[in-house]
């Protein structure tokens, strides 16, 4: 195959997107940087052999933490169901966090001002990032055909750090401190120059 196996956008566009190439034979082997794989739970991740047991567990914990922190929240079940499917939404009361196995509320249950609806976490998307791992919760789409990723959360390499060969062991220090800017607009005067070619 001469094309990218899995493609995603996390910042561009109105909602995150993840897609895999049609040919399922490309699965297998260590995930490449930038490639994410979907696992329903930590056990499935361990069973795949893609990552170590410790990494699978750490990633799942990171995804769950992110889910509890930032799962999409809706005022009504209908709004949640529209995006994530009828049977994929759980009611959570205010102050409580979204739950992986949250019990489904019945349709005739009264909505009170302190409850909201969140999609169940259907699994986790996990990938290698630069010198740690990257995991995020995954939700089913309303048509059950695609996966909608949630926000991401890094987990450190654990017992089996995922690291590219030759990469430094830590990131360079961030830039320090403010300095006095004396002038701006010293670049860009020729805005027909643009890019391209």
């Amino acid at each position: 195959m001469k094309r990218t196996r899995t493609i995603r956008l996390v910042l561009m566009g109105i909602s995150p997107l993840i897609l895999s190439a049609c040919n399922p034979s490309v699965q297998g082997g260590r995930p490449q940087p930038g490639e994410e794989r979907l696992y329903p739970n930590a056990d499935a991740c361990i069973a795949s052999g893609d990552f170590s047991r410790a990494d699978c567990n750490a990633a799942f914990a990171a995804a769950l933490e992110e889910h509890q922190k930032s799962a999409p929240s809706f005022a009504t079940r209908a709004e949640c169901a529209q995006q994530y499917g009828d049977r994929s939404c759980a009611e959570v009361s205010s102050g409580a966090s979204g739950s992986l196995a949250g019990s489904e509320a019945t349709d005739n249950e009264t909505q009170t001002s302190h409850s909201s609806f969140m999609p169940f976490m259907a699994g986790m998307l996990m990938g290698r990032a630069f010198n740690n791992g990257y995991a995020r919760p995954a939700y089913t789409d309303s048509n059950k055909q695609t996966v909608r990723p949630g926000a991401g959360n890094y987990w450190s390499g654990g017992s089996n750090p995922v690291r590219q060969p030759g990469a430094p062991t830590s990131l360079p220090p961030p830039p320090q401190g403010k300095i006095v800017t004396q002038a701006r607009s010293g670049f860009g005067s020729n805005n027909t120059a643009r890019s391209g070619g």
Binding site: M1, K2, R3, T4, R5, I7, R8, L9, V10, L11, M12, G13, I14, S15, L17, L19, C22, N23, Q32, P33, G34, E35, G127, A129, F130, N131, N132, Y134, Y154, Q164, G166, A167, P168, L171, P172, P173, P174, P175, Q176, G177, K178, I179, V180, T181, Q182, A183, R184, S185, G186, F187, G188, S189, N190, N191, T192, A193, R194, S195, G196, G197
Partner: protein, 384 residues
Amino acid sequence: MQRISIQERPGWRQQAAEYGFAFHTIDGERYWDESAYYAFTLKQVENDLEAPTEELHQMALALVDEVVNREELLGRLAIPSLYWDWIRDSWRQERTHLYGRLDLAYSGQGPAKLYELNYDTPTSLYEAAFFQWLWLEEQIERGTLPAAADQFNSLQEQLVARLGEIGGLLPQPIYFSAVRDATEDLATVAYLRDCAEQAGIAHREIAIEDIGLGSDGRFTDLDDQRIDSLFKLYPLETMFEESFGAALPNSGVQLIEPPWKAILSNKGILALLWERHQNHPNLLRAEFSQGPVVYPGRVRKPFFSREGANITLITPQGEKLQSPGPYDGGPTVDQAFHPLPSFDGRFPLVGSWVIGDQAAGIGIREDRTLITQNSSCFVPHAII
């Protein structure tokens, strides 16, 4: 290689809108055109495009190694001497180049011919790497293309991997910068930031116009934070001429593309490449222009032109074609006339991408004339 008409995906315009491809139509004219695609065989892709791309890339790098050490060549390429040491130093450091695009004339038969290198600010990246990929996947899913159809396009995968490597070599965050109101460039920058995010590196955005110069000679962002690493989708040679240009060498800023790319974004190197590799199957004869007359069978290109601007083309029969543009008056190079192939009256130009040092995919733009300009359409491709 064939040009084949194909049904458009019904929802592609909405999809384009949702995923940041605002420039699929430019000034009311179609830019993304999926009413047809170019079909290649795997052999054509691997033997005629991928392998020559990597070979030409290596020839280009060898040329940089020679030019940085020979001041008469830096002078011949009209690079201001103020920047020579800085360019040379950047070549001797760890290399942090991200990408480049070679423009190839290819008909499906015979060797592809190098028109030029776009190694500083290449665009049409998002549509080649992402939207073209989506097109193929969805056409396979719809059954419009066979399940075994493929595409020469590992661009996104390799961009993410390469940005991860660069992020390990440069201070973070990396600032991504383009001209404030340039829709297409801003989309390219947004796409690269997305890839940077996926690579796990810290990134910020700043308009080229907003970059500040601090009292200590360093560049700053709008919060007066120092800019240590800057990806700029803005030509190096333009920066050289601007008021902050002289501050570049001592600012400590690490640029992507790095300063040595000023050599490869310069069309004068077409003449230098030809001098060193005469009769190479993928090169067209080229020499530095002598005098104002362009002879039949020659194409005159400014050293610093972009987007097919200011090209003068004289066919062997003496017919003259000229494209307008803002790059008049500078030094030029004359290249042998080798017309683009014609498919149904369209002239496709193959943009062959190099990420890091690897050939990673192609994108095809076609025009109704022999000079490919920024009004050309982007047409997807498949390996069948």
